[in-house]
């Protein structure tokens, strides 16, 4: 089982990738959502590694269930679920029938339909990743165990 420090190290690598992707988010916007989620996942695992009652979890659904059921993690759950959901859309949503509806423009056809580049930071990262990390800090060792936190765009 990996330790808190090991999970935080992986989360920090995800943060480095996130920063790289955000230099030109139009290039692969969907991966911003995916990497943000995986960063959060490793923060959750870092927290769980300190919780003998929970321990390491290999499965997305069980991890969500644990966050939801353990009273102290409910706030984390409500934010993490949104990051998971957005990453699922980014990775797996492909509407093959959308071409037959071209012109109507109502059906999802690409990730930017869902999260336009201009909304990526304010609507997903600033609102959910940043608040997730703020909340997660309550469960990590002091100084967030060395977690490199996402800096909301507004503070730039």
């Amino acid at each position: 089982m990996s330790s808190e420090a090991e999970h935080i190290a992986i989360a920090n690598r995800n943060q480095a990738v996130l920063e790289y992707l955000l230099e030109d988010p139009a290039k692969c916007a969907e991966w911003v959502a995916v990497v943000a989620f995986y960063k959060a996942l490793h923060v959750v695992e870092a927290i769980f590694s300190r919780d003998a009652k929970v321990g390491h979890i290999h499965n997305h659904h069980i991890r969500l269930e644990k966050l939801k059921r353990e009273t102290q993690y409910k706030k984390l759950f409500s934010i993490y679920r949104v990051l998971w959901s957005a990453a699922s859309v980014a990775r797996y949503l492909e509407d093959s029938s959308s071409s037959s509806h071209s012109g109507s423009g109502r059906l999802y056809s690409r990730f930017e339909d869902y999260l336009p580049i201009a909304d990526l930071r304010p609507m997903l990262l600033d609102r959910f990743l940043a608040s997730f990390e703020r909340e997660a800090a309550n469960f990590l060792t002091p100084s967030c165990a060395g977690l490199v936190r996402y800096t909301p765009a507004i503070s730039h």
Binding site: K68, D95, Y114
Partner: protein, 203 residues
């Protein structure tokens, strides 16, 4: 997986048995249904193997005999009745003893979700329900394609409120929203058995 056989006994009660364990599910399946929401006349044909139910008001759920295994017929307040395989139900509730209570909770869950959907009718295109081995899944397809942080937060609150409600103690639920997309696309996310039509906005 268990192979179930069913028959009608002398009292007209359905006997459901697994060949492996000879567990009589009658008690669990019928009694809990009676304790639940089945209040109206149930006419049963004793001349056929299959349970024939003619009701003035449909029960919330029924156990149906099928040659290749049992099915639970769910009749939600809103939408068409739909079937769940008994194997899926057993997998999702992880216990034969809890089948009846679990099915009752699924019926209540459908009502609860329908109410939530109704309150957000203007934002929702359609919603889907499926039962997977690790629990129940609800996918909500929005009217538009855009990510909506407030809607997502409300969905998290719904998820948490159901998890906190002891009425649903047997159900593990996963909910998520999808941008406006086709039924086929939703099917790649959830093997659904039921969908809610576009809810009508309150007048």
């Amino acid at each position: 997986m268990h192979a179930f056989t069913t028959s009608l006994d002398s009292c007209g009660c359905v006997q459901a048995r697994t060949k492996l364990e000879e567990v009589d599910l009658t008690f669990f399946l019928i009694l809990a249904n009676c304790l639940g929401r089945v209040c109206d006349t149930v006419c049963r044909s004793s001349t056929k193997d299959d349970l024939m139910l003619a009701t003035q008001k449909r029960p919330a759920w029924q156990y149906l005999n099928q040659v290749a295994g049992g099915r639970v017929l769910i009749s939600p307040k809103e939408g068409e009745p739909f079937g769940l395989s008994i194997d899926d139900v057993v997998a999702a509730c992880r216990s034969q003893e809890n089948i009846a209570s679990f099915t009752e909770q699924v019926c209540d869950l459908l009502d609860r979700v329908a109410k939530w959907l109704g309150e957000r009718a203007s934002e929702i295109h359609k919603a889907y329900f499926g039962l997977e081995p690790d629990g129940a899944v609800v996918a909500v397809v929005r009217q538009d394609k855009r990510f909506n942080p407030d809607f997502e937060t409300a969905l998290s609150e719904l998820d948490l409120s159901i998890a906190d409600d002891p009425t649903f103690n047997l159900i593990k639920l996963r909910v998520f929203a999808l941008p406006f997309c086709s039924d086929e696309t939703v099917a790649s996310f959830v093997k659904y058995t039921h969908s809610w039509p576009a809810p009508k906005a309150p007048e």
